[in-house]
Amino acid sequence: MSVIAFDARRPRASRVDGKRYALLRAPTAAPVMIESTCRHRGGPLDLGDVVCAADGTRAVLQCPWHQRSQPLTTLLRQALPTVIRDGAHGVFILPFETGDRSCK
């Protein structure tokens, strides 16, 4: 496992070992780090918007490239363990070893 520190006050995109991670702030849950690459064509989810799904039943995160969306509930289930202290000092855990210990 790898412990990655980040500044939660900074814009959402973070990069570890070349991979993008984003802080997802869902309305009803604590903020969590998620993989920020859209599974469709690799769009930057950190630049996406949280919107109401077309059927009006749930909140989704919409990728800015092709407007593909993923339910927040799914993203929250896949989120990484994250803790933020005092609105600034963030840490998340990657399930593998990495040489890159802080976000860029």
Binding site: P31, P81, T82, V83, I84, R85, D86, I93
Partner: protein, 478 residues
């Protein structure tokens, strides 16, 4: 297994002890104890039962909400934390070195059932008021489990070993008066170190398996294996006397900063409420691990600034806390994670983060107080320019006038905004730390920064002074 299938006392009246009416009545009655009234000395001479709380102000304070993050240094917070420390320590045995009939009467009053009953009613409300902000200040998300918590803690321990110069100690080193700054810092550690591990003892009693014995092993170290001269609080007392300070408990009560009390109160709070035991496990890992670099650097700092300082206390901790950090991780954190599952992981993580945050807040407060003490001569000079603006009508702010007799002591306190003190007759000694002050004659005064702990005493037969509520001194000067 016993089962209760219906209420034992159906229809019994419900007594609401958590309502604000009961809280207020009990708070006022608690404050109406002479032990807590204002005093005439800056130091409390060998009487651990006397702790001034400025109870005459209680009726004006609102403890019904929770403090916001930016209100932690406010006066209401100082008061709540002074009361909480007093309440928690009703459980601890204090006995002064020299007893007198007056002190014996105080002893009986301090430990009286009436005071304990009142304390039991007001404590939960004060804890909610002081510590409620932590719930949102520590945000935990995602699937934390035993493995991820252990990874985080091992990473924290690794970083602690490589820690560079700590900012709080640098502030002491860089102070205009490092000896005084060092004393200021030591005084902030006294609420914890003079009764060291007493909160921890609350968790040693009971029956919870091997974790209990693991914690007890740490307690044994803290208490010096029953040899009084090696008890950690004894070592700390030796340090205090070696730098010219008194070593009796709470002699310097008036000089404890709000957040020094708050950090200490936190450990009492999570130790007293056993629902928070797993938070305690995380918090004590934070404390034992953070202490390794802190104590190593403190030992060096004490000797550097005060060559005669007996820094054995910090030497001992720099050494033994390497073991304690490992022991807590292996024999408390890991078993607690196994015993409590993912719920325990979240609780342990929360305790760790809350303790870390309160330590950071306390360190920032100590640094600010040290710098402000140094800044006082300049703030006295700045009074002239600001008072001229008030006199000319350029700055219009509320003002209160006080006429006080010789020896009238204004117990240390803080203001929520910047203030200007102006003396128009007599002489006022303005206290900005233990044994540190500015003397102000007629026409002189000082800007008092918000949240900074200070007091005053009249040096002439009478003194007339005025307090102007500036809010923001910088804005008034620009």
């Amino acid at each position: 297994m016993q089962k209760h299938t219906k209420p034992v006392l159906a229809g019994a009246p419900k007594i609401d002890l958590s309502g604000m009416d009961a809280f207020k009545d009990c708070l006022l009655q608690f404050g109406n104890t002479p032990l807590f009234f204002d005093c005439e000395e800056w130091e409390t001479d060998e009487n651990p039962y006397r702790r001034t709380l400025r109870p005459h102000v209680f009726k004006y304070l609102d403890f019904s909400t929770t403090l916001d993050r930016d209100e932690l240094l406010h006066y209401t917070s100082l008061t709540a934390n002074r009361i909480l420390t007093t309440i928690y320590e009703l459980d601890f045995v204090f006995w002064p070195r020299h007893i007198t009939p007056e002190k014996l009467a105080d002893f009986h009053k301090f430990y009286s059932p009436e005071l304990r009953q009142l304390a039991a009613v007001i404590r939960p409300g004060l804890e909610r008021f002081v510590f409620g902000f932590l719930e949102s200040a520590v945000e935990i998300g995602g699937p934390w489990n035993a493995a991820s918590v252990i990874a985080l803690f091992e990473d924290f321990a690794g970083r602690a070993k490589k820690s560079g110069p700590l900012p709080m100690l640098q502030a002491v080193r860089n102070s205009a008066d490092p000896k005084h700054a060092l004393k200021t810092l030591l005084l902030q550690l006294a609420p914890d170190f003079l009764v060291e591990s007493s909160p921890m003892m609350r968790n040693v009693i009971g029956d919870y398996g091997e974790m209990q014995s693991a914690l007890f092993k740490i307690v044994i170290d803290e208490f010096g294996y029953g040899v009084h001269r090696t008890k950690h609080s004894t070592l700390f007392k030796a340090l205090l006397t070696s730098v010219g300070l008194g070593d009796d408990a709470h002699r310097y009560w008036q000089f404890y900063l709000t957040t020094s009390l708050m950090l200490n109160n936190y450990f009492n709070m999570i130790s007293l409420d056993h629902r928070k035991f797993f938070r305690y496990v995380g918090a004590i890992f934070c404390a034992e691990t953070s202490f390794i670099p802190l104590c190593a650097q403190m030992a060096a700092l004490c000797r550097e600034i005060h060559p005669d300082a007996d820094a054995t206390y910090f030497d001992e901790h720099a050494h033994i806390d390497v073991d304690h950090s490992r022991m807590v991780l292996e024999s408390l954190v890991k078993p607690a994670l196994s015993a409590g599952g993912d719920w325990a992981a979240s609780e342990i993580l929360r305790g760790f983060q809350e303790a870390l945050l309160l330590s950071e807040i306390s360190e920032a407060d100590i640094i600010a107080q040290i710098r402000w003490s140094d800044e006082n001569p300049a703030l006295k000079q700045l009074h002239t320019a600001l008072f001229a603006r008030i006199e000319s009508g350029q700055v219009v702010v509320p003002m209160q006038t006080f006429v006080e007799p010789r020896g009238e002591l204004s117990v240390t306190h803080v203001h929520d905004g910047d203030e200007l003190c102006h003396v128009s007759a007599g002489v006022l000694r303005f206290i900005n730390g233990h044994d540190r002050y500015e003397r102000m004659e007629p026409g002189q005064g000082i800007i008092i920064r918000r949240n900074r702990l200070h007091g005053a005493i009249v040096e002439t037969d009478e003194c007339t002074y005025h307090i102007y509520s500036l809010g923001d001194a910088k804005a008034c000067l620009s």
